[in-house]
């Protein structure tokens, strides 16, 4: 039945797989946040042509699966002479997918701040920079945080798909060990533990962060 010595022997594999999952997720999420900030900025500032491009990008990225995006990046792009490592493809893929989700969350936050707030700030004599940093952003962040946290969790989960382009993440380790030793119980057990270890703290931290930032609703 359940073989603890197997777990002990192969736990280091799962630790390294978990670290790979974290590495890809962290950089993918940072890229997604950067893309999301730019897109949300372009959209709310209503910059003509750029805004339409952003809308097209958001629709494309939201309505296609990450797996197909990764296959396109990893197997398709080299035919155009663009050869990226699996790690780069995974990070770019997560950034491409997550950027649109982040953009929607951030835009929602910015739009939730009534115009009156900005106008009042001007009337009170604040500069546009001050009104943005002291009045608009703090309120926008408070609305955007729950969405951003949900997207962070979503992207860490989505990162499980990178095993499909031969990246040795935690999913890949589980599949490998099941294939090699038929150690289904032990491998699946370690897989579940690994994701609980990653995602439970993130989820708890997210809840704390939401509470910390909900001053606009009090």
């Amino acid at each position: 039945m359940f073989d603890w010595t197997f777990v002990e022997r192969y736990a280091p594999f799962f630790v390294s797989g978990t670290l790979m999952t974290l590495f890809i997720s962290v950089f993918g999420i940072l890229l997604a946040l950067a893309v999301g900030l730019v897109c949300a900025g372009v959209d709310t500032a209503r910059i003509p042509v750029a805004r339409q491009i952003v809308r097209v990008y958001i629709e494309l990225s939201r309505n296609t699966p990450l797996l197909v995006q990764l296959y396109f990046l990893y197997f398709g792009l080299p035919k155009l002479g663009i050869v990226w490592s699996a790690e780069t493809c995974a990070i770019v893929g997560l950034g491409f997918l997550g950027g649109s989700y982040m953009s929607e969350a951030i835009r929602g936050g910015l739009e939730a701040v009534p115009d009156v707030q900005r106008e009042t700030a001007y009337v009170l004599g604040l500069s546009s920079m001050q009104s943005l940093s002291r009045v608009v952003l703090p309120q926008a962040v408070s609305t955007a945080v729950p969405g951003v946290v949900a997207n962070v969790i979503f992207l860490i989960k989505e990162s499980s798909v990178v095993s499909a382009i031969a990246l040795a993440d935690v999913m890949y380790m589980a599949k490998d060990l099941i294939g090699m030793y038929y150690s289904t119980y032990e491998s699946l057990f370690m897989l579940v533990v690994a994701y609980l270890v990653i995602l439970l703290p993130v989820s708890l931290f997210g809840t704390w962060l939401e509470r910390r930032f909900d001053y606009a609703k009090r």
Binding site: P65, Y71, F72, F75, I178
Partner: protein, 224 residues
Amino acid sequence: MQSAEILLQPGVFPRLLQGLWVTVWIAGVSVGASVPVGLLVGWLMTLRNPIVRAVMRVYLDFIRIMPQLALLFLAYYGFARWFNWNLDATGACVLVFVLWGGAELGDLVRGALTSIPKAQYESAYVLGLGPWQTFARVILPQAVRRMLPASVNLATRIVKTTSLAVLLGVVEVIKVGQQIIDVNRFQYPDGTLWVYGAIFFMYFIVCWPLSIVARRLEKRWANG
């Protein structure tokens, strides 16, 4: 660029469409079966019974925290050994998507049901409606309005996630694409780009209308 002709080869496009049909079929069956499961789960979650509550809480949290691919592995490899239950890959996919869709939809149902003010129930009783009439005529129409936009979005996510079926070996659109690429490797060495590009847009064409419907509903029923 002439590799694009791979898509115009006889049989290539129809085969991709056949593969897409498998994808859409899995998604359709999963979404369809999620609806009754979701309604049941949502109703169970509104009950006050502490045991039912705890069970539902664990079920929802576990499904929420595990990546769908991990759930697929649990069903496909795990169930075979735990219960000697040899699900085929398609069966494992549908099972996982129904459990996942049911949990997410259940939470939406719970949210919609609990967001309806008590006064609505009381007014309905005062007007002489029975409990079943109250539910069917007063509560349900309002609850549906509140949860429909998010539910349609959930359907888009289920369609997208069916792409993972290929990793368990289901012959759906991505697998068909890989077969086409392999067969034409020498004639069209750059076929990869075009075939995966075509699949990318196929998913887009299936999911985009759903996204638009969700957004329309959201706007129209913003304060339903």
